[in-house]
């Protein structure tokens, strides 16, 4: 297994290729341009299809088409571009197609700027487009995880026939770290896609659609979607816990933000302050169970949610705790990132 120094964006691209992605369509936007550039050469070299689309809307609809035809397909963009893709993501969810969408977040609203942010959490975890649906959302916190999670995302997308999103930020996309690249392309779990469009030779025609006009049909379909989402919520919660056994103050942060929070926890521990960290890895499904368990068994003084936004994930923490524990918040967005000092001061004042 070789170790290489690459950026988060490149790690995502290589991770996708190693996960058996054979179709990529995208449109340039900062801060994820290394990803599309990497795909344009490396994916094509390996016999995959790369298309620089005319827009983010076209790109996501190309992913819809490639996925309908049965291949592992993905697109990537950053916040304003992801807003444009919401139409396609809703159709992908509605047609129950597997696909992977990468959002390397920048600050908003509107054109905002190109600094890292986490202000697309609501959009990512609530559906984002029209209708009652969810994407499975994974939040890597290192360049290694950026590589590793692509495999997880494609596997989950295929398993549940559902869009999966990688939610990173500009800092993670741009920074370089050593990454262990495991060559796994020939070990891809082949899920049989009997629903895919391949031409109707030897079988009845397949139809990929999200349109249900007959009375009762859409409601029945939506109930099957909800059943699937309940199953995902039960089985796919992922998080990393740090010092949770005796923590009196539990910090909650994901992605890049969690790395700063982790440093703060270690400093606080060195000063005798019993703090811990929950780092949600799946943002949807939100790792509810650990919060519920800790609130009952440990009765911590407080949960402190730290985000590069003005308070989005904190709503999930409050929802899951149902008032059973104190929840505090620290957040900045638009260029600013909560610093280790700010976190430590906030904890000391609790």
């Amino acid at each position: 297994m070789k170790k290489v120094l690459i950026s988060g964006n490149e790690a995502i691209a290589e991770g996708a290729i190693q996960a058996g992605c054979t179709f990529y369509a995208g449109y340039p936007i900062t801060p994820q341009n290394e990803l599309i550039a990497y795909m344009s050469s490396h994916l094509q070299d390996k016999g995959g299809v790369f298309i620089q689309a005319e827009s983010e809307i076209a790109a996501i609809n190309m992913v819809y088409g490639a996925s309908a035809a049965g291949v592992r397909a993905m697109t990537s963009s950053s916040s304003p571009g992801i807003s444009l893709k919401q139409e396609g993501i809703s159709y992908i969810a509605g047609a129950e197609l597997p696909a992977v969408i990468v959002n390397i977040m920048r600050a908003g609203p509107g054109l905002g700027n190109i600094w890292p942010a986490q202000s697309d959490y609501f959009q990512a975890t609530r559906g984002g487009g029209n209708g009652d649906y969810h994407c499975i959302v994974l939040a890597p916190a290192s360049v290694q995880e950026s590589f590793d999670f692509m495999r997880v995302a494609f596997d989950l997308a295929d398993k549940y026939r559902n869009p999966a999103m990688i939610l990173g930020d500009g800092m993670l996309g741009q920074m370089m770290e050593p990454v262990k690249i495991s060559n796994t392309r020939n070990k891809i779990s082949k899920i049989k896609k009997s629903w895919a469009l391949t031409g109707c030779k030897g079988r009845k025609p397949n139809i990929i659609k999200s349109f249900y006009m007959r009375e009762g049909d859409l409601e029945r379909f939506n109930l099957t979607l909800q059943k699937k989402y309940n199953q995902i919520q039960e089985k796919e919660q992922r998080f990393e816990g740090l010092f949770l056994d005796d923590a009196e103050v539990i910090l909650v942060a994901y992605g890049s933000m969690a790395r700063i929070a982790k440093s703060a926890v270690k400093f606080l521990r060195s000063k005798g302050k019993k703090s811990g960290l929950i780092r949600p890895i799946t943002l949807w499904p939100f790792p509810k169970d650990i919060f519920k368990r800790l609130a009952i068994s440990h009765k911590p003084l407080a949960f402190l949610v730290i985000e590069m936004s003005y308070g989005q994930m904190v709503e999930d923490v409050r929802l899951v705790l149902e008032g059973k524990a104190r929840v505090e918040f620290l957040g900045r967005s638009g260029g600013g990132i909560p610093t280790e000092d700010e976190i430590i001061k906030k904890v000391m004042r609790l």
Partner: protein, 242 residues
């Protein structure tokens, strides 16, 4: 006696939901007949539009995908790129292809994607209740141009086929009509040519089909056919464009 005409295998034996005098049923059937005659039914993947023909997949008996409004050619691009041995076509109306999907249309054409496009031009939005389409004629009354389309307010009928003909990636464009049996036969020939182009790897082929919409033209079916012949085809001349 030799049987020379029967129901196409590629068309399910169903009554359609289309209005009396609508052209969609004829266009669906022509495509199904050509697919059968070329023996490509088991290779075809069709992209249905958003509009009156949204459930074309209920009528055709081969693999089909729905696409979001206007995005059929983005979907078709990807399917053809990953399944080059399949035969991929889109079936799109004027709003789908020439308004909301203009971007996808122009760029798929410009990339020279080796797909077929069957473009139904009826100069009006049917499914949503007869609003102005990009191809609505000047002075034509619609539910959003109740005094008739006014160039100063609404712009001109968009000749997207002529625009697309300028692109080097486009290999074949023909405008046909469904207003009479001879024109229907010409339409079938054009559909056949478009499919042959794809089979032979020639490239992007589009057939624009002028099609009657008696309901939203406010005309009887026969008067609609006459209107195509006498009025609509003056704005959208029939024949080979490229």
């Amino acid at each position: 006696m030799e049987k020379i005409y029967s129901h196409p295998k590629s068309l399910r034996n169903l009554s359609t939901h289309y209005c009396p005098g609508c052209g969609h049923g004829i266009a669906h059937r022509l495509i199904a007949e050509v697919v059968d005659e070329l023996g490509i039914r088991e290779k075809v993947i069709a992209i249905a539009p958003v509009g009156c023909a949204v459930i074309a997949y209920d009528y055709w008996d081969f693999d089909c995908s729905e696409a979001a409004h206007g995005r059929a050619l983005a979907v078709a691009t990807a399917i053809k790129r990953v399944r080059q041995d399949n035969i991929v076509f889109t079936y799109q109306g004027d709003g789908d292809l020439a308004a909301i999907g203009t971007n996808e249309t122009i760029h798929a054409a410009n990339r020279g994607e080796n797909v077929c496009v069957f473009f139904i031009n009826n100069a009006v939005y049917g499914m949503t209740g007869g609003q102005m389409a990009p191809t609505t004629l000047l002075n034509q009354k619609t539910s959003t141009t109740i005094k008739g389309r006014d160039a100063g307010l609404h712009g001109y009928p968009l000749k997207i086929s002529e625009m697309l003909a300028l692109l080097p990636g486009v290999k074949y464009i023909e405008r046909t009509s469904l207003h009479s049996p001879p024109e229907i036969i010409k339409t079938k020939k054009a559909i056949n040519k478009a499919f042959l182009n794809q089979i032979e790897g020639v490239g992007f082929s589009l057939v624009e089909i002028l099609s009657p919409c008696p309901t939203y033209w406010g005309m009887a079916p026969k008067a609609s056919l006459d209107w195509i012949r006498d009025t609509m085809s003056k704005e959208f001349p029939l024949g080979r464009i490229k």
